[in-house]
Symmetry: C2
Subunit: 274 residues, 2 copies
């Protein structure tokens, strides 16, 4: 049984909450219309990313029952899709978090994940999470893991989600554009390919398009199969783009590699460093 997975790479504006929500809702409509059953949006898709200061981040942060996630959940319910999207969260303790939500096809928020590895100046704006990446079983689809951007650059963290049963890891990301040699894929894409292959799972990373307050985004959205090869993306454009890929999540339950190996069973955890 295959599931169509989508990454909706969006151009968003920092602080432009209404326009960002409209862009997300339109992308969800289009992706669902194209057959997507799982849709991933970028990191901080409610607020934008390049905050001037902590006060701006706090002012834009919303509780999980705030207007943006509520509207996303309604869109997920309307289309009967699973949605994974990043948002600036004001949590119940008043802390500002770089979070991602997983909403199931009934519109129920099944997980709120707080980014555990903060990048760049995020430490000035956000409190990192201390909880493991959630893995949520969606009936008729499979087990979906969630983490955010720089998290996927820590193979130990990706491994934890995989060992917890993730068959598809969904990662809202905002990858700032770094220089790279001609002809090379963005390094972040390469790392996602490796994340998928060493765990024999699917990974869908949804990046931003365009630029924001002088920060250009990579436009590196990619959906990778359990062999580590891209099924969709990254695309040559850094503009908005909808990636669609047909994924059989059951394949990610099989950790065998050829006739003699198993990427989990071959681990030697007793020898690894903490």
């Amino acid at each position: 049984m295959t599931t169509t997975v989508a990454c909706a790479q969006l151009a968003l504006g920092v602080g432009d909450v209404a326009a960002n929500l409209a862009a997300a809702e339109e992308a969800i409509d289009v992706a669902a219309g194209a057959g997507a059953r799982v849709i991933v949006l970028p990191e901080l898709a409610n607020s934008g990313y390049v905050f001037a200061d902590a006060a701006e981040a706090r002012a834009l942060a919303e509780p999980v029952d705030g207007p943006t996630v509520t509207a996303w959940a309604a869109a997920a319910r309307r289309h009967g899709v699973t949605l994974v999207a990043g948002f600036a969260e004001l949590d119940a303790d008043g802390l500002v978090r770089n979070s991602a939500v997983l909403v199931d096809p009934t519109g129920t928020v099944r997980a709120v994940y707080r980014k555990a590895h903060l990048f760049g100046t995020e430490k000035d704006f956000f409190v990192p999470g201390d909880a493991a990446p959630p893995v949520v079983d969606i009936e008729g689809v499979g087990r979906i893991g969630v983490m955010v951007c720089y998290d996927v650059e820590f193979p130990e963290w990706v491994r934890r989600a995989a060992l917890d049963g993730a068959e598809l890891l969904c990662a809202p990301v905002n990858w700032p554009l770094f220089p790279r040699p001609a002809g090379e894929r963005p390094g972040e894409v390469v790392r996602v390919q490796a994340d998928a292959a060493v765990n024999r799972m699917y990974v869908a990373a949804c990046d931003r398009a365009g630029a924001e307050r002088g920060v250009a985004w990579t436009g590196g959205s990619v959906i990778v199969d359990p062999d580590g090869f891209p099924l969709a993306g990254h695309t040559p454009t850094d503009g908005p783009v909808l990636l669609l890929a047909s994924c059989d999540l059951a394949q990610a339950r099989d950790k065998r590699l050829g006739d003699h190996n198993d990427v989990f069973g071959d681990r030697r955890p007793e020898l690894y460093a903490p």
Copy 2:
């Protein structure tokens, strides 16, 4: 200060110990003549790889003071180079190991590493090692880590070598050729790129060329920089090839990523699974 690192991708024959040694010695001569100060040879470079049975593997295995490593050490001393090479080892307890040796420019064997993650039918021939990958400080060069082939597909193992100070990870490998989509690099190369980038270190993986008893090799030798981009290889040929890359190992001592991050300091080991 830069060091020229070489991978000598060789075509070898199973059981043809004399020819394999001649090929290795010639490759060392050529690489050293081209300015290499660190030379990596493939996995099981004394014996070949595709054993008919355990008896054949045992018959071809040599102690670390046997003729092949002794000759390699003499070549290293003659040229004043550091050599990392894989060999079928008969250890002091009579166990057959898939090992790699690190010989310094004086011809001294500084480390013998036994592959900890065995691939394919290797479990029929070899006893896996239980010791951490060695990291050896070579004066005037830097700190060199050693592991073998499938080991590099376990990010926890690569991390251990990196945390132990490896600035250049040298990996003798024999990568069987797997199908891949058109235009894609071998998956093993992608994983090595990620290994390098997430640890901000150099990696030199030296593969085999050609085929052996019906097993085709990938010819995927590659030398990767701390950003995860190839400095040399992999090459379009699957034949013998000498890769050379100029590496400044001091750069791999700096784990900072931009102004705000550090790929080691940003780890959250208290949250990782064993």
